[in-house]
């Protein structure tokens, strides 16, 4: 069979109930925004997104032999977002992950929220963010940005999968994180090569399609920030967590996740259920928020300077 499952599809049973539900909630919030944003577009978008979802599904079958019987193939989140815009790309990837889970049992149902988040939402946000950052630049730079975004999107998916497994008490962080990131650093290269070649091919044959998607998403500047923040998280968190898993473990213990993982999930509503109200947890969250705000301010500042220089150039 051509269809090959990727190690990012988490089956049922591997995530704790708490983590499954938290990620379902996050995914539903983002998806409802995506639906609202795409509903305002014309009704032609719906068949287009449907066929594009089938396209991503089918494109995942196209592989190229690497070595020793292994092959590289596509995840497609970045590609979908670049070609269709971020919200439509997210919906397309959601449909793909949903059908893979429902029809092929490739990824579970209770954990589907996490799977959609890892493979659909993260990848689309990062892929589009990077591509958008190179808007109006030379074609080579655009392709480079698309490639970088594709690689980071795969890494982000791997990072979040590892974190979810660990927070569920299913895996040990100091083993699963380097393993996941290591494998996907290589898988990500396949993703980059295919994504870049596909976009280069479309540039050559139908450049109008890419220009169209650019002009239709004029106000997509926020995605640059989103993509930059997410990948900054990946870049900062991965080495830190790989080198010092104890540090991350301590944070999670403060937040109460690890007790939840270590105990059976039916203790969901016991004392551990509301760990967020503890002092130590509050301080951790506050510190995290301040950090995120500082980084966001920095990125916005840089983006604005860049765009001013860019407009004065024209």
């Amino acid at each position: 069979m051509l269809y090959s499952p990727s190690p990012l599809h988490i089956p049922d049973g591997f995530l704790s109930l708490a983590i499954s539900l938290i990620f379902w909630a996050i995914t539903l919030v983002i998806l409802s925004t995506a639906v609202k944003r795409t509903e305002t577009l014309d009704e032609k978008q719906v068949p287009l997104m449907g066929v594009m979802a089938a396209f991503i599904f089918a494109a995942q079958m196209i592989n190229f032999p690497v070595a020793g019987g292994t092959s590289g193939h596509l995840l497609g989140g970045a590609l979908a977002a670049i070609m269709l815009g971020p919200w439509a790309g997210m919906l397309v990837m959601t449909a793909v992950v949903a059908v893979q889970g429902l029809l092929f049992q490739d990824g579970g149902l209770l954990v589907m929220g996490a799977n959609i988040f890892n493979m659909g939402l993260l990848t689309a946000a990062i892929g589009f963010g990077f591509y958008k950052a190179a808007e109006g630049r030379q074609r080579k730079l655009k392709l480079f940005a698309a490639g970088l975004g594709a690689w980071l999107s795969v890494m982000a998916g791997a990072l979040f999968t590892a974190l979810q497994l660990w927070l569920s008490g299913t895996a040990r962080l100091d083993i699963v994180l380097p393993a996941m990131l290591g494998v996907h650093a290589v898988i990500g290269i396949g993703e980059v090569l295919i994504t870049v070649a596909a976009i280069a091919f479309i540039f050559k044959t139908r450049p109008d399609l890419l220009e169209e998607s650019e002009s239709s998403a004029q106000n997509g500047r926020g995605w640059i920030v989103v993509g930059a923040l997410l990948s900054l998280g990946v870049v900062l968190l991965s080495p830190f967590a790989s080198a010092d898993p104890d540090g991350l473990e301590r944070v999670a213990t403060d937040l109460g996740f690890l007790e939840q993982g270590a105990n059976a999930p039916y203790k969901l509503l016991s004392d551990y259920a509301l760990p967020f109200f503890r002092d130590s947890a509050f301080s951790t969250i506050a510190a995290g928020l301040i950090g995120i705000l500082v980084i966001a301010a920095l990125v916005i500042f840089l983006a604005r300077r860049r765009s001013i220089r860019h407009t004065s150039h024209n």
Partner: protein, 264 residues
């Protein structure tokens, strides 16, 4: 057409086939939820769940081992859970030093690992049972009854409809690549990995263009037949008294299992 690849439905006349798709989806999800709620190492509870699946297999006239044979898809993922053996505090079973890792296998860890594998194995089986006894278009329609956004459901419906067409397209592309990939004798064929990847990428680009143009044609054809923004179905999907009764009974059994597991 490659129905065999994508169509998991098996024709049948059992009560499982006749049950309303919406009810089947709800029961499946609750069953998986109940699996997740069973405590680690509650083998009796897992056993009862599996026995139920076996009985449902027989009731659906699939033969007792139908879902069993197809349930091993999630096993490669168990690799990720192996580390659970070393993650929990408990009575030490064995100690290994492996590179930078100091691994202590504990009884609690082993119990957790086995429970995770069994949970996923049971969940996969019940999901297989769902798609074997329900036609996928009905399943998609059930999602709409369960208040999923209509747009998302429509996208999924299109995805399913055009997998068949586009996978044919992919097979054509792959066959064409194969046909042009002769290796002359005494030569190394296949080019560099980079070159191979670029060819695969070009094929993806090609597939994108064909899909894009096809979607244009599809939309025009739909407009021509009076498309007004959503898909219709002839199946009414009414939920009858029998379906309600069966759902209540299933939920009752699952609650009983949980009570037994946590209080017993």
């Amino acid at each position: 057409m490659h129905d065999s690849l994508f169509d998991r439905f098996r024709e049948g006349e059992s009560f499982l086939h006749r049950l309303a798709p919406t009810v089947k989806v709800v029961i499946t999800v609750l069953f998986i939820l109940s699996d997740a709620l069973l405590p680690d190492g509650h083998w009796l509870g897992f056993g009862i769940s599996w026995l139920t699946i076996l009985l449902l297999n027989l009731a659906a006239q699939l033969g007792w081992s139908y879902t069993l044979k197809r349930s091993f898809i999630a096993f490669p993922f168990a690799l990720a859970a192996i580390t659970a053996i070393f993650a929990l505090p408990g009575e030490t079973l064995a100690v290994w030093d492996f590179g930078p890792w100091h691994l202590i296998a504990t009884d609690a860890g082993l119990l957790r690992f086995l429970s995770i594998v069994v949970r996923s194995w049971l969940s996969v089986q019940v999901a297989i049972l769902l798609v074997t006894t329900t036609q996928f278009p009905d399943l998609i329609h059930a999602l709409e009854h369960l208040r999923l956004p209509r747009m998302l459901v429509t996208v999924i419906a299109f995805l399913y409809r055009y997998i068949f067409v586009l996978s044919d397209e992919v097979l054509r592309l792959l066959r064409a690549r194969q046909a042009r990939s002769a290796i002359p004798p005494h030569q190394r064929g296949g080019g560099s990995i980079l070159w191979r990847a670029r060819i695969a990428g070009n094929m993806v680009g090609q597939l994108f263009l064909r899909s894009y143009e096809r979607s244009d044609r599809i939309y025009n054809a739909m407009l021509a037949r009076g498309y007004q923004g959503h898909l219709r179905t002839l199946n009414r999907h009414g939920i009858h008294t029998r379906d309600w009764l069966l759902m209540t009974f299933a939920i009752f059994l699952l609650i009983l299992l949980q009570l037994f597991a946590h209080l017993g």
